[in-house]
């Protein structure tokens, strides 16, 4: 279970970082979302992976660490709000700057402008 879990987190992180480095805002948003998923799973695993462990006392033989679950919950809420803001900001940037590039200008457009100068 550990290696599968670790592999999933690694894959999600790799995808997230790859998308984060793209030039347009939409892949960047998706990349950040994937990174947030990876990080949430990772935080969850910091309380060690165990099956059939209850978080509430007196209900089970084995107990899971409740704190990472609280941390993940907080991280999910914050990550969700931030992503929502980023989506709105990306739409605003598309309207203000006239394109959806992170740098606010298309690469080829930049080249031609340099030549005209």
């Amino acid at each position: 279970m550990e290696s599968l879990f670790a592999g999933c987190i690694g894959f999600l992180t790799a995808c997230g970082v790859f998308l984060l480095l793209r030039g347009r805002t939409f892949p960047v948003v998706v990349g950040l979302t994937m990174l947030a998923y990876a990080v949430n799973l990772f935080l969850f695993s910091s309380g060690r992976l165990s099956t059939q462990g209850a978080a509430v006392l007196g209900t089970s033989e084995t107990y899971a660490d409740p704190l990472p679950q609280a941390l993940v919950l907080t991280a999910i809420v914050i990550g969700f709000a931030m992503t929502a803001y980023l989506v709105i900001l990306a739409i605003r940037a598309r309207a203000d700057l006239g394109n959806d590039h992170v740098d606010g200008k298309l690469p080829q457009q930049d080249g031609s402008r340099k030549e005209s100068r």
Binding site: G16, L32, N40, G104
Partner: protein, 507 residues
Amino acid sequence: MSHLIIAPILLPIFTALLIMLPPIHYSPVRRRWVSMISTVILLILTVCLLLQTRAEGVHFYALGDWRPPFGIILVADIFSVSMVCLTAILALGAICYGSAGEDEKGSFFHPLFQFQLMGINGAFLTGDLFNLFVFFEVLLIASYGLLVHAGGKNKTKAAVHYVVLNLAGSAVFLFSLGILYGTLGTLNIADMAVQVAQLPAENLMLVKSGGLLLLIVFALKAAILPLQFWLPATYSAASPPVAALFAVMTKIGVYALLRVYTTIFGEQAGPLAGMASAWLWPLGLATIMLGAIGVLASQDFRKLVANLVIISVGTLVTLVSLQSSAATSAVLFYTIHSTLVCGALFLLADVIASQRGKAGDRLVPGRRMAQPVLLGSLFLVAAISVAGLPPLSGFIGKLMILQAAVTPMQQLLLWGVVLLSSLMVLIGLSRAGSVLFWRVSGNDAGPERVLPLQSFALVWLLLAAPLMVAFAGPLTGLSYAAAEQMRDIENNITIILADKVNAGDQP
């Protein structure tokens, strides 16, 4: 248990909510007054808290009375409370400036500003690493909103970069928190210090990687060399009162670095002691140089001030890496000085730009200013202070920095870099000042004048420069006390974890 510690967090959040209620929200005048009066009350409360902390020493507030290390705690020591005080002083200046008209260029200026104050105060006061993350996010989301205040292409572009970078930074922060919690089993800063000291050898590398991931996060917030590229664009695009408040945001990164690498990975941490110093020392020095080059290369005044912020961050980070009481006290003194003066410079840049018409704050010959004497003298005070010339506060700050270096190698590098950067700042500011004030075309000045609230804000912030010299004795005494208290980790742990130790004694 005194409830005063939580007041700097509760007051801004309730003020923000109050401002959004209809009777106040629909009246610009009421919004302004509520916001300003609340900030004055905040300032009074933080000064009370500072006096209390000086009298009682380190004390903490357990939220919901859940005792540490399990509950979230707020810790008041002289250093953190001084930073909260500094924030309140800066915020009062920024809000007064904003209330002169800047706040009406977009919506929700005052509530967002108060939320950001809440985040900043919380980040300074918290004694829990995950809570630090939460307060970082609170201040960041408020700053995202404030950054696009008043709108415009530049702001949107800067905001996209800023938001994406900080979201990536938050992800790294969470990764490192996961690693540290998984290995140490706690996120309470004092308890982490205890756990690190008795760390089993097989977890050593994991904790080290977690700790160094934190370094990346705080370096991003503080804008240290490889991660500082966002700062000039963001700070120069932000509207002036927001940029002035942002002057304290980089200092939060520095404060977090200091807190984490003094308390958790400090002298008692065994093999991990001082692991960040090897990184922070060269990066800090390089950041100072880069900022100084940026000052010389800047094409407009706001970018120049943003580069001054980078220099101050580099200086502070270099001091953090020295890990001594003298260096820590210099951090506090220099932070207070540089934050207030840089904040004032951002405001001044806007006043100058508005009086120069089309030329704005670009360093090109422009229209004659309407009030050259007033603005020129304010500029002179700020420039002398920020360049570190006697007789103003920057000089004492620089002196404390230079005295913090003890070994010959440190002296050679730190003195060389700091003094050279001061020279470059002096050249850059002289050039900027002579272009802005003397190379004017035509005789007709525009109709813009400095409004009373604006000049109050400028004078309020710039008063720090002479006052910090006049009261240099008590202030250096305060910063030495703060440094000694912060570095007395044993004592802090005993105070915060008293219950845990007692519980451990009972069978």
